[in-house]
Symmetry: C2
Subunit: 107 residues, 2 copies
């Protein structure tokens, strides 16, 4: 299992809508997340920055993310979410959410 943490900026004017959507994420989107071997997935917000934490239980993260991005329901969901978000100023080219480095873990 690999723990993954990611951040992205949330546009201030979209904060209420983002929270509302995430209180009732579409079942198809949740099912795809589970099918792509992601567990214990949380998103936190502070001061215009979204922080995601999840645990990846599969064996090919890149391929699972490719499968997720090929899912029509997920694409429809992202089409609503993406305009609400802005990648971090230091994101790599083409990077949406930016990964953090794990520096400590204890069970």
């Amino acid at each position: 299992m690999r723990r993954i943490a990611q951040i992205i900026q949330l546009n201030q004017e979209d904060e209420a809508a983002y929270i509302r959507y995430h209180a009732q994420v579409w079942p198809e989107v949740l099912a795809k997340i589970a099918a792509c071997n992601i567990r214990n997935y949380s998103i936190f917000l502070r001061n215009g920055v979204l922080f995601a934490y999840f645990e990846y239980h599969g064996t090919d993260y890149k391929e699972d993310m490719r499968r997720m991005s090929a899912c029509p329901d997920t694409q429809r969901w992202w089409a609503i979410m993406d305009p609400m978000q802005s990648s971090m100023a230091d994101a790599e080219a083409g990077e949406k959410w930016s990964e953090l480095r794990e520096v400590f873990h204890v069970e």
Copy 2:
């Protein structure tokens, strides 16, 4: 169980030392963390910001944090870590790590 996420700034000149310390956190500090009902505790770093995620399994978080801060080993550990960190610009008075709001969770 309650999921808690917190952020704080890490002084750039202390990054290497912080990572080194956290690769080998003192056993007494880890034992106190466990005794205070904290599980699955990770700290991530990106661009001068530390992000902590943990799961609190106790029934009185405030009291457990009071117990942790009364632990001499933990105090010694914090005496080294605190000068490396700076609270967020928007932290409340007396706040060290700043809590984030959970806006989404799926198991």
